[in-house]
Each structure stands twice: as structure tokens, then as C-alpha cells.
């Protein structure tokens, strides 16, 4: 699998022999239409809020995001498709929400945001939206390799009172039904996304927490090194699939 992972990174498999399915592919036509609706997709409220925040100067007197980075549609295009990425100062990878929060703290003199706050979800949704339709293209920085392997180890380790690994459901049993729920392959193409069950926007880390709670395991914290490692692995596994955020899920 390690070799296969490296291969995936170098060359995403050709579409013809690709049996990967996203959560979007598994949804009903009604939910797909809701996601595709340029005004009716509820995730777009967060995107619009994020857009406003991106160009608003903070009251610390610092530059706005746009002041440093320029027009979001150009400057942020493709960034989400590449993340997580290495942070030199922390000497570890960070996910996109982590990067945005670091910019607020380091470059705008603002306090950090709660991971599941509307403000951080909005900024992340806005930046991710600038990659909508672009293929996931993991960062080739070799310092990330070990983290991806750690993510793969986590993904394939049984955990919780129910003693199941992520891979048992999302690799081996994908397409089957857990009671009424279709088990998806678990591709991270749509986050942050609007989940009808949550009745709000949520992050990939929140989704990880749901699945860990489901097998009665102790979730890792939002933004934890473990979740960044899992995301790095899942993004490599989903390399070449298009970013579809803000997605809808049932």
C-alpha cells in the first residue's frame, strides 16, 4: 500500500479504471441538485460571509486578508486542493483552517478562533470554494510523507468498543449498508460542508469525530496532529478527485 500511495501521488489513476466514488456520487438526485444550486445550497451563506470577512480590515489596524494576498478568486485558487501543507514555524503540517487561523494570529494580531465557529468555517469555506472543480493535488513536500503514513496507520487500526477501523468500513464495506446508511468510500472532497443531520456547516474533523464516536472510540481533538495526518492520507487517497465544497450531505 505504501508503494500504491506513492504512485497515487505521482499519477492519479486514469478516470477509466477509477472506481472511486464521492459522497456526491452516492446522493439522491434531489440532494445533488440542492448542492449544485447556485443560490439554494445553504453552504453558500458561509461562503458569502467568508468573502466579506476576507476583504474586511480587522480593528487591530492590520491588513485584511485581501490586503496581503490580493483578490481571493485568484490568490486562493488551488490552495485548498493542495492542503494540508507544512508550516515552517510550527515544524509540522497544518490543515487549511489551521493555516487561516495562523494568519489571523500572526499577521492580523487577532485571537485564535474556535475550530467549529461560524467565522472559521466561513473563511475556510470561502477559500475552499476557490478550488471548486479543481482536482485534489497533494503537496509533494517530502516532509509530509511520514505524516501520510501515520494517517494510513490510523485509518487501518481498529479502535473503540466496536473494534472497527476506518478502512474496514470505507475500503472493505463501502457500498454496503449500516442499517439504512450507505457506507461511502469516505473521500474528503466536500469539506467544510452542510450536513442536514447537523443542520449546519461542519468541518472534516467534525466528521472524523462522528465516525470515531460511532465505533465508541475517543475522538482526537479538532485540529489535532492525528486529524491532520488522517486528512493528508485521505487527500492522497482522493488525489485527482474534484473539490466539491461546500457540499451537502444527508
Amino acid at each position: 500500500m505504501r508503494a500504491a500511495l506513492a504512485l497515487l501521488l505521482l499519477a492519479p489513476p486514469a478516470a477509466a479504471q477509477d472506481d472511486r466514488r464521492t459522497g456526491y456520487d452516492d446522493m439522491t438526485p434531489e440532494l445533488q441538485a440542492m448542492q449544485d444550486d447556485p443560490v439554494g445550497n445553504p453552504g453558500l451563506f458561509w461562503v458569502l460571509d467568508g468573502e466579506a470577512m476576507y476583504s474586511a480590515a480587522p480593528d487591530t489596524g492590520a491588513e485584511s486578508c485581501a490586503g496581503c494576498h490580493g483578490d481571493g478568486e485568484t490568490a486562493m485558487s488551488g490552495v485548498a486542493a493542495r492542503y494540508p501543507a507544512w508550516d515552517e514555524a510550527l515544524d509540522r503540517p497544518v490543515d487549511l483552517a489551521g493555516r487561516i487561523d495562523l494568519c489571523r494570529v500572526r499577521h492580523q494580531g487577532l485571537p485564535p478562533l474556535e475550530r467549529e465557529s461560524d467565522a472559521l468555517l466561513s473563511l475556510t469555506a470561502y477559500v475552499t470554494n476557490q478550488s471548486r472543480g479543481l482536482p485534489i493535488a497533494p503537496d509533494p513536500d517530502p516532509r509530509l510523507d511520514g505524516w501520510r503514513e501515520q494517517g494510513e496507520d490510523l485509518f487501518t487500526t481498529r479502535m473503540g468498543q466496536l473494534n472497527l477501523s476506518c478502512a474496514q468500513c470505507h475500503d472493505d464495506l463501502a457500498g454496503g449498508h449500516l442499517a439504512a446508511a450507505l457506507i461511502p468510500q469516505g473521500h474528503p472532497t466536500g469539506y467544510p460542508l452542510y450536513r442536514l443531520e447537523w443542520e449546519t456547516m461542519g468541518s472534516l474533523d467534525r466528521r472524523f469525530g462522528n465516525c470515531m464516536f460511532g465505533v465508541r472510540a475517543e475522538p482526537f481533538g479538532a485540529g489535532s496532529a492525528e486529524y491532520v495526518a488522517l486528512e493528508l492520507y485521505l487527500k492522497a487517497r482522493a488525489a485527482g478527485l474534484a473539490i466539491e465544497a461546500p457540499a451537502i450531505r444527508p
Partner: protein
């Protein structure tokens, strides 16, 4: 992308396998109170208690959605003896190290169990006996 990997706990169970799974299962009841099939049926059909219907279908038409990840429990009382059923319920890893069926009355080899479930088993000893008693009644086709 199917893949099967044996976890450490699974290979441990494999080491124990030769002795425990040679057909006998667990002949000794876990409690002194004989299992109550009606109580066992309640555990099986109540999603949050038994979790069974997440994976198994069976002779319980009142359950609207059952999973399709495991054999239908219809007739299982004719396929397996009571000791075999008890072994399946207590810890299916002994029968099949790669099983996805959770260990209902064993805690060894588990990792990162959530705080609120630590030191507990999914079912109590009496619940296991009740479920075994219920499963043992499923001997006829269609029940």
C-alpha cells in the same frame, strides 16, 4: 480498494483460536439465571442496545431498515449450537480473527475506547444469555 489487514488483537485471537474454536464454543452459561428469549429479542431489535440490525437482517419484520453486512439471522438456531452461539456473542474474534462483529462481552485488545465506555462491555452477561436464548429459538425457516 479492498484491503484486509490483521490487527494485533486479531492475531492474538488467532493464537487462541486453535483451542477455542474446535467446534465446542462456550458450553458454560455466563450467569445462573437462564436466558429469557423475549428479553433477548428486545436487545436484538433495539438498535442502540444490540446494534445487531446495523449489520444483520433477520426474522423481525417490524425493523424497517436492517444492514446488509452480515448473514441473515433467520434459522441461525439450527445452524449453530448454543455453545457456538454464546462464543459468537461473547467474542466473535475467537471464531474469525478478521470479523467485523464487535466483541459483545470482552474488552481485551481494544484500543482508544471512548471514556464513557471504558471498562464496560457492549452487553452484560445476562443480556448475552438472553440473546443466546433468543437466537437458539430461530430454528425454523422464516423465524
Amino acid at each position: 480498494m479492498p484491503r484486509s489487514r490483521m490487527s494485533r488483537s486479531a492475531s492474538l485471537a488467532l493464537a487462541l483460536w486453535a483451542g477455542a474454536a474446535s467446534g465446542q464454543g462456550l458450553p458454560e452459561p455466563l450467569t445462573d439465571v437462564p436466558g429469557d428469549p423475549a428479553a433477548g429479542r428486545e436487545v436484538v431489535v433495539t438498535r442502540e442496545r444490540g446494534l445487531c440490525i446495523l449489520c444483520h437482517a433477520g426474522p423481525f419484520p417490524e425493523v424497517p431498515f436492517t444492514g446488509d453486512l452480515a448473514p441473515d439471522l433467520t434459522g441461525v438456531g439450527a445452524r449453530l449450537t448454543v455453545p457456538e452461539l454464546r462464543q459468537r456473542m461473547v467474542d466473535s474474534r475467537v471464531v474469525n480473527p478478521a470479523t467485523i462483529m464487535p466483541p459483545y462481552h470482552a474488552t481485551d485488545g481494544l484500543a482508544r475506547v471512548g471514556e464513557r465506555w471504558q471498562g464496560t462491555t457492549i452487553l452484560t452477561a445476562q443480556e448475552v444469555e438472553d440473546v443466546v436464548a433468543y437466537l437458539a429459538t430461530l430454528t425454523e425457516d422464516g423465524t
